[in-house]
Subunit: 155 residues, 2 copies
Amino acid sequence: MTELDRADVALLEAVQRNNRLTSEELAKIVNLSPTACQRRLKRLRAEGVIEADVSIVSPRAVGRPVSMIVLVSLERERADIVDRFKQAIRNTREVMIGYYVTGDADFILVVTARDMEDYEQFTRRFFYENPDIKGFKTMVVMDRVKAGFAFPIDV
Amino acid sequence: MTELDRADVALLEAVQRNNRLTSEELAKIVNLSPTACQRRLKRLRAEGVIEADVSIVSPRAVGRPVSMIVLVSLERERADIVDRFKQAIRNTREVMIGYYVTGDADFILVVTARDMEDYEQFTRRFFYENPDIKGFKTMVVMDRVKAGFAFPIDV
DNA sequence: AGTGAAATTTATCTAAC
DNA sequence: GTTAGATAAATTTCACT
């Protein structure tokens, strides 16, 4: 694994809040020259320490103000069934986040929707029509205390 | 709310995957001039459609390879208790994501850790020493099928 | 190795239309 | 919305510690 020094950490903490800072602004933060900052960021990106650089889109602004956390249990925890469900997650725009977990549930999803009716339609399509699903439990998000991601967008 | 046209949506879908594309690259994608792309992105940022621009840091690369999903129940769902817990989430670097939800749990957290022992220490500090907490249930993340966020980093 | 300064390349911003 | 010129930023080169 890549060794990170103080400057790397300072850079990462800066850009994971805002990656549009200029090298000059970063230079002030980490007490290095702009050139050094750029070189280090380039290295961090090349080595995969920085996985991606993205814009966080407001779910509300793109018409998806409702989020749900869904705990999903599969009928059987068999490799092919698990893999099939992972693929379904990847192919489904409404599912923002998917975790495969141990414990009470098999998967935890974060699903966005236009409204509750929209979500109900989604559950019919995504859960009830899937024989691999034993059951699911929905929790409606009332407040996002931390975090931001990429959202499906339609006009 | 802001009206988004086809070009806005195309821009958003591009930058939420990669916000380091140049205006020229974006121009090709959305069939507009580079200047038009810049103007639109500036507007989208000013209006809050784009909430933030961030680098996604690899949790593994910064020494936090383990993630847990935690369902938290509070002793009582009273406004001041809820607010206090929200503040605790915000002040705790290990908690990557926090949702306040309706349903079986009151909060759902995504917590990162260096290893299981590190997580246990965290639970002692964060849960057992907090009298507002009725209980919590941990699920260990085996695979992240979708998503990426900001992570706490230490050397 | 990693840094920093100056020159070059490249991208962005500011007009004009 | 576009095109062209001015401004600013990111890369590259190279000398230095």
